[in-house]
Subunit: 508 residues, 2 copies
């Protein structure tokens, strides 16, 4: 950091004004630069990119733990492959609407334009291409073209692959750094299995990975099975993971899809079973994106700046020597020793020995959300101690002889406070749905729904009733929680007893 | 690896037939799959991608050591930014009129040629874009649009950035995995400095990094200052790094460019000097690509398959238990213990306990180039020892009590053999240029030049003479070695004494 972002302080918006706070903060903390001359395509600055790569590393670790292999597919997809996907998607949509078994569909039937969101390459150099291509919006089409070449027999299954790449969507809605962008830093796992059950096991493994990752990022999430009308078109079902943002709207940060054998039928992905029979594979996907960083910024930040979870903080500890007229050399030496010791223990630490006032340094690192600040002044050194300030509040003094153990303890305390705060916010923003009565196509609520909250309710109604509620309230059904009520409740629509818990929210 | 690539053995071409060996081997070793339906865009398979990421890690380490910050720029570049390049063109045109530097004369050709090589995006969804964009072929234009926003004063310098991204070129020549592809896995460092001298220091640092990396990859390289007519347009000078391939042709695997302040003038990248004066920065770039992997495959492989340098081998050691009827369980346990012990020491190790013959296993791992194979049979276990086979030849037996030290020693021996073999090949393929005489526009050589060799000569001639030699021989001037002759030699063209050593080669 060559320049002090403290200057950015003046005019720092309050987080209560989230709409202004968020776009201000992603630039003030030097995560991205939005001045690149294409809307929705930001430049990742070193601090932001390091954070993103640390998030990616958590993902890589989970993928390695669960025996996924990393691949890397070409960005460009020939238009002709899209036809297959379009046919599949539009047919499944239709089938779902009409309640038809997808296996009875003939893929040749219909084509519809999913092509509205993609960037097209129809020219290269001075040549008009005979075979246009588009930039991947996601990689089903590219990958499932290759899967039949890699899968021959049951011995090749399960095939568990993933990649971390950039994807592209021609967004026409308002763009927001990390949340809605046109070039998306993306994670996608694609797996193929011998049968539906094994694919279901994969879905469960994915949800366990989600849980681990969210725990590292210190925020609670809503995990719901999306309603049928909001299921990814080629999927049997979709489970989505949403974060409750400061304004009470939800942000989908991950999703897992069970495809059954629907894509396999379209792309002819078969294997020889032990019986010798040719069978279609069952597939799943699991997607996440840079929205994880957007949710981190939004959930944990405060009026002073970001607060980075230690697991992904590019700088976990900043050491600020407090120099006085006397003994400055000793303090500088002791500060360097602290840095060296922490570095040797793989703690990401930075020495801030810039020639500016300590207060200004504190300011800078608070904006960037460094979890711990170590201050070392003459009095500290005299008592063989150091001062440790947590970004989540409070200072403590520790003996220099217990540097590492104290730092680790303090980092863990930061984690605890971050989780507590995020959970408190989460709980405060989920309300019970008020009672209602339906008369024909009209709903009467006992109380009006408030903006800024997620609503929870027992629900055993039908799709038509759900649609009516969405229409009347302007809130969307996120879907059915994977954690149902422990006891039966009365559905406020149908009056039936149920343990199904659904969430409704305004969404990003 | 679910399937044995041993089957691929049948019909494995000899390396002497490099043209067939290379494309066969990149697929047989499961580095890439070339069956993706776009020519020149391969799918990276897990083994290939892991190797590439390990090469990237070596680069990341060097970048961190030398205080470069990693950034990540958008892939798409607006066409309008080309105007700035046009400005550069006109500036250099003016320089030409004033007869300043011949390297600058070629820039306009390059910009024209460059437009011929890019993929254009003129459509998104169903919209024809008002502002067309292209996929980055390299990132000068994108980055130097942002540099003026990041550089204000001398305190912001040097600015040392890099990124590892994919770049795109619409190749019309024959494509080859890693060597000539249309989507290129690319490394590019871009730096800005207060003056020419500091930029020159950067060039020297880059060459030191090159040296470190090539040493990790175990191959010698030619480092030459490219002749003026082969200098990257816009550069003051270019230093390129070439590998001598098995067929004697050279492959450029890296290049560094000193831009002086030429790009800064076009993109208006200025800073306030300590004197208060506004000055243009001096810039450098340093590029490398997946060609490093291509050169690794080509240099070290043999008739049995690849040989991976231990530094980038996804699997450094494979452990093969030799099971007999009796004591199989003990051997399996001992093999797992070896794997665990090596893993805990961060050695990349794999247990091959597939139910196939050991010979077939050896075969598979030889194709993939795993540097060390540990065999553990009943006799070994009885004597508390294990057998260690190097991919570069020879087996040795070691005590199990000295597992780690022996494995590290053996890996180092593999490095030594790889370097020796590569250096021997390198030296055998560089010949002294035969004597020649020039009569008008005709050259007579005492001996004909042979295909399959690089030629070396003392050269103190002019550009016209060099051009004539290129034209007559079909060999290209790689340029002047950064390691000149230790004693003066007579230039075979002009007869002048010189220590300048130039290389000529057929190039990829």
């Amino acid at each position: 950091m060559s320049k002090s972002p403290a200057a950015a302080k003046r005019g720092i918006p309050s987080k209560e004004n989230f709409k202004e706070w968020y776009p201000f903060m992603v630039e003030a903390a030097e995560l991205v630069d939005k001045r690149y001359p294409i809307k929705g395509m930001d430049v990742w600055r070193p601090y932001g990119w390091k954070t993103m790569r640390l998030i990616d590393n958590l993902t890589h670790d989970e993928m390695e733990r669960t025996d996924h292999d990393e691949v890397h597919f070409p960005l460009l997809i020939p238009e002709e492959l899209l036809d297959k996907e379009n046919k599949l998607v539009s047919l499944l949509k239709k089938a779902r609407e009409e309640g038809i078994d997808p296996s009875e569909l003939r893929l040749e039937d219909e084509v519809e334009g999913f092509a509205k969101e993609v960037y097209w390459i129809k020219h290269a150099g001075e040549t008009k291409l005979d075979n246009p291509m588009f930039l991947r919006p996601t990689s089903e089409t590219a990958m499932y073209t290759m899967f039949p070449l890699w899968i021959r027999s049951h011995a090749d299954l399960p095939l568990k692959t993933y990649q971390i790449v950039n994807t592209f969507r021609y967004e026409t809605k308002q763009t927001r750094s990390f949340i809605r962008v046109r070039e998306i830093h993306f994670f996608e796992a694609h797996t193929a299995h011998a049968d539906e059950e094994d694919a279901t096991r994969q879905i469960n493994e994915d949800l366990e990975i989600v849980k681990n990752l969210m725990s590292e990022l210190n925020f609670p999430v809503l995990v719901t099975k999306r309603p049928v009308w909001d299921t990814f078109p080629g999927a049997w079902y979709t489970i989505a993971i949403d974060v409750v943002m400061p304004d009470g709207r939800t942000l989908q940060v991950a999703s897992v899809h069970h495809y059954r054998d629907q894509w396999a039928r379209a792309f002819d992905v078969k294997y020889e079973a032990e019986s010798g029979e040719q069978k279609y594979v069952h597939q799943t996907t699991y997607g996440m994106s840079e929205r994880l960083l957007g949710a981190t910024v939004a959930t944990h930040g405060d009026d002073k700046g970001l607060i980075m979870p230690p697991s992904i903080a590019p700088i976990q500890v900043v050491v600020v020597p407090i120099l006085s007229k006397e003994g400055s050399e000793e303090i500088a030496t002791a500060a360097r020793k602290i840095v060296d010791e922490l570095k040797s223990e793989k703690i990401r630490v930075k020495l801030d020995d810039r020639d500016i006032r300590p207060g200004q340094k504190y300011y800078d690192w608070e904006i960037k959300g460094v979890p711990l600040r170590i201050e070392l002044g003459p009095r500290d050194l005299k008592s063989n101690s150091f001062m440790c300030a947590r970004r989540t509040g409070e200072k403590s003094s520790y003996s220099l002889d217990e540097l590492l153990i104290s730092v680790n303890k303090e980092l863990e305390l930061v984690n605890v406070h971050m989780r507590d705060n995020a959970t408190a916010h989460f709980n405060q923003h989920i309300k019970k749905m008020p009672n209602l009565s339906i008369e024909g196509s009209k709903i009467n609520f006992e109380q009006d729904l408030e903006e800024g909250y997620v609503y929870e309710m027992p629900f055993e109604g039908n799709d038509a009733e759900a649609e009516l509620i969405e229409k009347e309230t302007g809130f969307s059904f996120l879907g059915e929680s994977t954690t149902p009520y422990s006891k039966e409740q009365k559905c406020i629509v149908s009056g039936k007893n149920t343990i199904k818990k659904v969430f409704l929210a305004k969404t990003y």
